[in-house]
Symmetry: D2
Subunit: 135 residues, 4 copies
């Protein structure tokens, strides 16, 4: 079960081609990741630990153009969880449809905010993220 963020596409999301611009997809995906982290209390766990969620790679496919007035859903799932890193899968679909507009793999690491170095995902953060992954 994925977390779902709903967005209505507006004129300022589009670019000169009349479609949602590539860069804006990454904001839609980021909104989805904040959504899943907000709902699951991941943000608070990170803050308490002085740690941060840092994206290290995004592999995104643009499958169908997204246009003005489209109602879309960003589905976000935590797919893999390693020692200090993980992978989210995110897909964009029209509301209430199975059509695939875009899909992305997002690799991340958890870093210590002081040292900026990866740290083991442990304790409360591990619990919270395990729950997210099993949803």
């Amino acid at each position: 079960m994925a977390h779902v963020t709903r967005i209505k596409v507006r004129g300022y999301h589009l670019d000169g081609y009349g479609h949602v611009n590539n860069a804006r997809y990454l904001e839609f995906l980021e909104e989805g990741r904040w959504g899943i982290m907000d709902d699951s209390d991941t943000i608070h766990a990170l803050e308490d630990l002085g740690q941060a969620f840092v994206v290290v790679q995004i592999n995104i496919r643009f499958r169908k153009p997204i246009c003005m007035g489209d109602r879309i859903e960003v589905h976000t799932r935590l797919d893999k969880l390693g020692v200090s890193s993980g992978e989210m899968e995110q897909v964009i679909r029209p509301e209430g449809s199975d059509v695939l507009m875009s899909d992305a793999k997002v690799m991340f690491v958890i870093v210590d905010k002081q040292t900026h170095r990866p740290v083991a995902i442990d304790g409360r953060l591990r619990e919270v993220l395990d729950r997210v992954r099993r949803r």
Copy 2:
């Protein structure tokens, strides 16, 4: 004499109407303000003093649409300089032309980064900004 920033308009600057989007104008203006502050050493003066340049009001008129491929100039002038505040005037023109595409008044205050409160513009910062204003 104003500071001039040159921008070539790209597809990602446009919105669904095929024109540069309102919000993007504010990025073009901000680029112009960083330009004038960079050239005049204002940024270093602020950093040394632990002070920041904070925009408190922007009044912008959108006079002509700006389109794909347009080469534009952002002209930035420091117009007024008060005790702790000032006003910049910024206009956007096609490169090498007098046509007015957009013009804006930008009001700012100088604040202390610790207290977040306005401070008197003094010493080296006053010197630097006086030079900018007289250009």
Copy 3:
């Protein structure tokens, strides 16, 4: 009575100062205007008439910084309606609070999409916008 758009402030809305960036305010305001036009059927009326809503001036004051995690409301009202133009008033407040974070006057004209020239606001569009104004 104003139309209200709710936004939760995310990391990508902020800039290097840790506050929502000036340009992003204009996207928040645009979201509010799409919201009021969507709810009131203004978008369909414009499309049927081959007309467009074009912003000609924005005068915005940034009164309090908006920060990460803030839940904000964009309140949008149609304030004045002339022959072919009008003025919206938009304010940003924290959710459920009267504190003023930002307020803006947004002047617009209705133009014919073919000629790009202002047209008289008439018929169904006049009815729809009159209802919006009286809310």
Copy 4:
């Protein structure tokens, strides 16, 4: 030999972490692609043919944070050219340095603007892109 676009990083490029935001990288890359297409006359060839360059996939790695004041270079190369598609490689480095801040593979197809379907890269467009690839 790659095409190089130079950018000075400003406050509005950053997000709440004080680093250039993920989505902004995609604008930097898009600026680089417009640059290489502009210099090589690809834009005019596409316009004359009624064809468009459409990005179908981006695989980007974020290797080092990019910060306020950084002077960066976006290096863009056309790596592969197939029947109707191709691949660009783009890397971001500090000005005059070999350090890798980010690298991306960008897959594209050439489509007919009327039918929105991929078309064979032929004639003048093929010549232009072949020259770009051999640079």
